[in-house]
């Protein structure tokens, strides 16, 4: 079942990559980063001792981890444990005050060019969708490719059409977000992020604001994305999804990673008491 989907997905992906090649936009992030410190090329994201404070509140207390290319990492933990803050530091929606974050070879610093370069290659999907309500689904998707990647309108629309097809809502292209269901909105949001052809996708609780009936349609899209080889970090409590697609699970508590292990290991043989308690509560 999953294999069939995987085949289909890679077909879509190839089409999509071809479209970008036609547009003459090669992803040159690594070239740009040539002057930066060299890191093991298989590590897409490296975090070393990352600290973050909100005023006096110490939200991240020394987070160290790395994510390899094509890896799918799911982040779990109680609310307020810093998991959202963590993934938001990766594309600099939150600024970290200590430690290093290196994304695809570029170190996140206050250098605006680095931040822009990283944001272009890191897609993000939010809990509350955050589609632009004054633009149609199509315009939501084509905006960034046209304004940031400077693609011509026709090219951007072709890519958007393919992506809407891929997330299964091609017929809704001309609707405004307010006219779509939650699940459809989240799928447009995923297509919007994919339109920039990111190397990494961040998902911040993408199904938490959805009705139960709509969760599956969004998870299906994410599953397809995972098997197509996208590097993904997902904050989610969808256990079925995690068991199926995650390579690794990070358990956050009080701003730290308290347990980090391969998916099977994490669920079947958790080591920390806090993890056991957490799992018993969400599996109940």
């Amino acid at each position: 079942m999953v294999r069939v989907e995987a085949g289909k997905a890679s077909e879509y992906h190839t089409d999509f990559v071809d479209a970008f090649k036609e547009a003459g936009t090669s992803r040159s992030l690594s070239d740009m980063a040539a002057s930066e410190s060299t890191v093991d090329t298989s590590d897409m994201i490296v975090c070393r001792d990352v600290h973050k404070w909100y005023g006096n509140f110490h939200a991240l207390r020394g987070v160290t981890t790395s994510v390899r290319e094509r890896e799918v990492v799911v982040v779990v933990g109680p609310s307020g444990s810093g998991k959202s803050t963590f993934i938001r530091t990766i594309n600099r929606l939150e600024e970290h005050q200590r430690g290093d974050i290196i994304v695809d070879g570029i170190e996140l610093s206050n250098d605006v060019r680095n931040i822009d370069a990283i944001r272009r290659d890191v897609g993000m999907v939010f809990q509350s969708f955050n589609l632009f309500p004054h633009l149609t689904a199509m315009d939501n998707i084509t905006l960034a490719p046209m304004k940031v990647r400077k693609l011509p309108a026709r090219q951007a629309e072709e890519i958007a059409e393919q992506l809407l097809e891929r997330v299964g809502i091609a017929e809704q292209a001309d609707k405004y977000p307010g006219q779509l269901s939650g699940g459809q909105q989240q799928r447009v949001a995923i297509a919007r992020a994919l339109a920039m052809q990111p190397k990494i996708m961040l998902f911040d609780e993408p199904t938490s604001a959805l009705d139960p009936e709509m969760i599956k349609e969004v998870l299906d899209v994410m599953r397809e994305l995972a098997v197509s080889g996208m590097t993904m970090i997902v904050v989610s409590h969808e256990i079925g999804f995690t068991r199926e697609v995650a390579d690794r699970v990070l358990m956050f508590d009080h701003g730290q990673i308290i347990e980090e292990s391969a998916t099977e290991e994490f669920f079947d043989n958790p080591k920390e008491d806090r993890t056991k308690l957490f799992l018993s509560q969400i599996l109940a």
Binding site: D116, R120, G123, N130, F132, T136, V148, K175, Y176
Partner: protein, 416 residues
């Protein structure tokens, strides 16, 4: 109202009687119980009496001669008098200005998808043509004046044709032409030295409704962009920019407009060269624009505050630069959320143009007051004259709020 057995699945019941038709509505809202019935009859009696006496006064008792006597002077004030425009008839200059506006309205009608533009264009043409047939008495108004008034109808038609069959029929071109027309009107009304027929008319003599409209249009078109800049400045992370904007906004909002107009004699020369600042019209324009900008800035800031922070985050996460996020995401949403407040400010600004009488300008109301005071035989007609002016202002402001409602309807399409 459902029966004990409930409704069978898939069957919709008709709505209750009070939800259907005029009779049900009248029953529910007018005659539902005894005191509603009494109130309905009392109110109906009041309306009948008010209409009866009101219409009787308007048709039989009121003397509307004063409006016919003033005629075009209500529109242009002293502009065409012997001391303002000696030895010539200058009335054609404001009239041609109006024709240019009619052409623009015709173009907007052709481009707009909404019936509002059509109604306004036809309304303006109809009113001006109607005035061509009214009996004037006080001014030098011959056939030329009447023909130029009647020409507004073909002018609207010409604008429509122009927009339909030439490449000028796009929103961008109409906006550019709008600015050009405004500048041409200023030159036309002001005049150019040395050109026969265009002898300069001092702005001291500009007056009437023309003055109100010129000030209002200037203030409206300039206060929106200035207000946006101030609102963005007030939210800026640069402390100096923020401080300057806050100080400007709070000073402008904290002072009465009349005080500002008085002080303009002292204040405006600080910022502008002598040639301009000695000109009352220029000073009034500057003060009205800046005063309105301060309020506009706060309206727009309100719209920006109401935006969900996720909008900016999503835009930044996509790689849009800060200025792109502001121009493409924040401002369009913020402005459409506060259109009622913005139009309210426009209306307020239009009415505030009356206050330029403070610095000695004869706007339409002050001109009328001066006329009544100087012509004792019309003292009894003050009521008619000012009621008429109230109606004129109401028509203009109502048109503004009508257009704003239509714009809101169009923009809300996607946000149900």
């Amino acid at each position: 109202m459902a029966s004990a057995t409930g409704t069978p699945p898939g069957v919709s019941l008709p709505p209750p009687i009070t939800e259907r038709g005029g009779v049900g509505w009248a029953y529910a809202n007018l005659f539902g119980n005894w005191y509603n019935t009494v109130l309905t009859f009392l109110y109906a009696a009041f309306l009948v009496l008010a209409f009866w006496f009101g219409l009787r006064w308007i048709a039989l008792e009121a003397d509307w001669q004063v409006i016919a006597t003033l005629g075009g002077r209500l529109i242009i004030g002293q502009y065409n008098t012997e001391f303002a425009c000696p030895g010539q008839n200058c009335f054609w200059r404001p009239q041609v200005s109006l024709l240019l506006v009619s052409v623009l309205l015709g173009m907007v009608w052709a481009v707009s998808r909404d019936t509002a533009a059509k109604r306004i264009a036809i309304g303006v043409a109809a009113v001006t043509v109607a005035f061509a047939f009214l009996p004037y008495s006080m001014d030098r108004m011959g056939l030329d004046v009447r023909l130029l008034l009647a020409a507004n109808l073909p002018a609207v038609a010409a604008g429509r044709v122009l927009a339909r069959y030439t490449p000028l029929g796009t929103v961008r071109w109409i906006a550019i032409l709008g600015v050009l027309v405004f500048l041409v009107i200023l030159v036309l009304v002001r005049g150019l030295p040395g050109i026969p027929g265009l002898q300069p008319v001092s702005t001291t003599y500009w007056g009437g409704l023309m003055l109100n409209l010129l000030l209002a249009v200037t203030g409206i078109t300039l206060s929106l962009p200035i207000g946006i800049a101030l609102a963005l400045g007030r939210r800026s992370s640069l402390p100096l920019v923020k401080l300057l904007c806050v100080v400007f906004i709070e000073i402008m909002r904290g002072m009465p407009l009349i005080t500002l107009l008085f002080m303009s004699q002292v204040l405006v020369p600080l910022a502008f060269p002598q040639d301009f600042s000695s000109n009352s019209l220029f000073r009034a324009g500057v003060i009205l624009t800046l005063f309105s900008s301060a309020y506009m800035a706060e309206n727009i800031r309100g719209g920006l505050q109401a935006l969900h922070p996720g909008q900016v985050e999503a835009a930044r996460a996509l790689g849009l630069a800060g200025w792109q996020t502001t121009l493409l995401i924040s401002l369009p949403q913020a402005i459409r959320n506060v259109i009622p407040a913005i139009v309210g400010q426009f209306i307020s600004l239009f009415k505030d143009t009356l206050l330029v009488y403070i610095i000695g300008m004869l706007d339409v109301v002050e001109f009328s007051r001066a006329f009544i005071q100087g012509n004792a035989e019309y003292l009894a007609s003050a009521r008619e004259l000012f009621l008429f002016l109230a109606l004129v202002f109401w028509i203009f402001t109502y048109t503004m709020s009508y257009v704003s409602r239509r714009v809101e309807q169009h923009l809300r399409v996607g946000q149900r």
